[in-house]
Amino acid sequence: MAETLLRAQSIHKSFVGVHALKDVSFSIRRGEIHCLAGENGSGKSTLIKIISGVYTPDAGHIEFDGHRYSRITPIEAINLGIQVIYQDFSIFPNLTVMENLALNTELAANRKLVNWKRIRRVAEEALAKINVRIDLDAYVGSLSVAEKQIIAISRALMFNTKLIIMDEPTTALTKKEVRNLFAIILQLKERGIATLFVSHKLNEVFEISENFTILRSGELVATGSTKDLDDKKFSYYMTGRTFESRRFVPKTVSKDPIFEADRVGIPGSFEDVSFALHGGEIIGITGLLDSGRTELALSMFGMKPIREGEFRVDGTKVELTSPRAAINHGIGYVPEDRLSEGLFLPRSIGDNIVITELDSLTKKFGIVDAERRDEEIRTWVGNLAIATPDPDNACQTLSGGNQQRVVLAKWLANSPRILILNGPTVGVDIGSKHDIHTILQELANEGMGIIIITDDLPEVVENCSKILVMKNGRIVAKLDAEEADEQKILSYML
């Protein structure tokens, strides 16, 4: 047993009477990779902020490197060797890689003047520490998310770092980038640097961490070795609910396809894509980020009209040249990035739900029928169990999972026959994810045809009756649900 680096002892913290953390204790050894998991609002970020000195605990204390602290400031935390990598990486997109890497140490050294030679040297050292090469003169704003993250990590290592805390580091990364990140974390471990890894994705928890701590509503529910953890326990700890694994089996499949793609393509994005969707089916389309899956999704909703082949609805050729046209043919689309494409965040939940069906709620002279509008909103908030005290609240007050439900409600309110979802559960916690899956399966059982585009393989396997794998713009495999498993799908994807 290596020695303990960090121990949090009976931490309590409340904000205006709300208990954010109740009696939380856990510890991390030197060089340990520890995963902190929990749903939104479970107290993860509060705990991180206490460890990094942003908040002072109401009761309890932190032991770090053998010393006991009842309160520390952010600067003290940094000097002790605690570094936090926030989700936004705290970088400067407008400055060069070189400056981003060196500014923090220059500031910490309390320098007043800038020596560009020294800055370049510091930056080179920083990148050398984790053996990566990035153009030092590039602007950080022009880099990929993964590169930005690498900059944040190597910058953190410039201090005498003993513990790196990463707040949901994999959210915006592709599978390959996640693997690179894990390789870096393992490198850090070899050098004796511990990592506290915040995540709610269980496959990551299993892959990288040695130990875990799970919080729920501010309380510690479990902490221990990842070896003793399995899917079921993990979900239970996270949500306090048990989920049966329920592979979707279509109940009633319509005789004729309701939507067909016949050798459709957009040069440069995807080509020769054909499939048929029957009512009551859920088709999964999966592939890497550049496989053309997103472009295909957009073309089905008329946002990127196809150049080759044809789409058919109920056997008749349709021209899907605009979202309007797609909506008129009964197609609904839940976009990939709900924040930028799917929702008007500052507007009320209710407004967001009814926006697609305003036409049908309008009385004479273009005036919206307020009563029917409110009724419609009540129905959907109830049906999809959107957790809000008042549908007049702004959408941005909701958690990720609930926001996604609003997007769903928005399209369901329009009663589409064909529903296309692009990454329906990205950034959504387990409980909401489960609920969204249940809703989709129920919708399919009521006769809707559903297409899910996602790279979340468990999601595909669990929910789809047919699976199409895309690679380099083409469909490389069509699998039935019974014959598909994650390994097999992955082998076609790569």
Partner: protein, 347 residues
């Protein structure tokens, strides 16, 4: 990692300043071809003189925009300090040199700048709103408390400073002469100081950092509030220097004739490639953009375009100029996306 080191040409064409410079060059050549007078010594000296006050204003404006704000109060601030200084010295029947007026103006400017800085930095109010308000306040003080009327006489020291010439340029053809004013040196000194500040001090890098991301700057350890307050104090001082120079060169203190300059100045700064959203831009670009506006404002007459059309031309220039840089951003983002996609394929 992005495929070898880019050539000098490529580096140049990626920079906004390069395009502003090209436009500037084309405009100058056009004027030269039409009139044959543009590159005459006296015209060049005239343009340099015309650049002093807008140039100083642009430097101040540039600092604020880089930090992520917009300052619309500098003409009012400059007018108030200039007017207050002149009036005070006239009342005291001051007969000395130009140093005291400059010092007084800088001091008043620093106080007024601190007023902006306090609300923007300390109370975190949006710069645009605060400066709209302070602009009214400054005008109000000038017109109410100081009962401003045009002062046709200024202290002799200011007048001497404002009209003394470094050298006199003569047009060999027409025989017209133009004075290269001593005040031009003040402009160059400020330019050099601010250049050094932005490039070689942590304070200057802090202004860029705050403009890029205030949260990140705070987390990195910059004292965001202090940086902002000091910066607004500096901006106030630069603007008041411009004000006192203007009065000295015009040999009169006109309370309102600087008001309304803010839009053209900000336009020049943005034209020079400074991102209106903050964090990006160079002093070189800022000066080129300002120069472009100054030349359009002053040299249209040489092209044979009536002065009444001047504002139309300035307007078109601003729209086209900022349009081009906006378009560039779009193209850059697009190529970035293609690059990421290619990386994925390679992976």
């Amino acid at each position: 990692m992005k495929g070898g080191t880019p050539t000098l040409m490529k580096k140049l064409t990626r920079r906004n300043e390069f395009y502003v410079f090209l436009v500037l060059l084309v405009l100058c050549l056009l004027i030269e071809i039409r009139s044959g007078q543009f590159f005459s010594p006296n015209n060049l000296v005239d343009i340099a003189s015309a650049m002093i006050v807008p140039g100083l204003f642009a430097i101040g404006s540039f600092l604020v925009i880089v930090s992520g704000g917009v300052d619309v109060s500098f003409p009012a601030l400059a007018s108030l300090t200039m007017y207050a200084t002149t009036k005070m010295l006239l009342d005291a029947n001051y007969q000395g040199g130009a140093v005291l007026p400059i010092v007084i103006a800088l001091a008043i400017g620093a106080v007024l700048g601190a007023f902006n800085g306090l609300f923007i930095g300390y109370f975190r109010l949006p710069a645009m709103i605060v400066t709209l308000g302070s602009s009214s306040v400054f005008k109000g003080i000038m017109q109410g408390a100081l009962n401003s009327k045009q002062l046709t006489v200024i202290p002799p020291g200011m007048r001497r400073w404002g009209t003394s010439a470094l050298f006199i340029a003569r047009n060999p053809v027409s025989g017209l002469t133009s004075r290269m004013y001593v005040t031009f040196i003040a402009f160059i000194v400020v330019l050099a100081l601010v250049f050094f500040l932005l490039r070689f001090t942590m304070f200057g890098r802090g202004i860029y950092a705050i403009g890029g991301s205030e949260v990140s700057a705070h987390r990195a350890g910059f004292n965001v509030i202090r940086t902002k307050v000091i910066m607004y104090v500096l901006v106030g001082m630069i603007a008041s220097l411009a004000g006192i120079i203007r009065a000295s060169m015009m040999q009169q203190a006109h309370p309102t004739n600087m008001l309304g300059m803010e839009m053209n100045i900000i336009a020049g700064v943005v034209l020079g490639g400074t991102a209106i959203t903050g964090g990006r831009g160079t002093l070189t670009g800022c000066m080129l953009g300002t120069l472009l506006i100054v030349i359009v404002e002053n040299s249209m007459i040489l092209l044979g375009i009536p002065t009444s059309w001047r504002s139309v031309f300035t307007g078109v220039l601003i729209i086209v100029g900022t349009g081009v840089s906006a378009y560039q951003t779009i193209v850059m983002n697009r190529s970035k996306r293609v690059q990421t996609a290619k990386k994925e394929v390679a992976a």
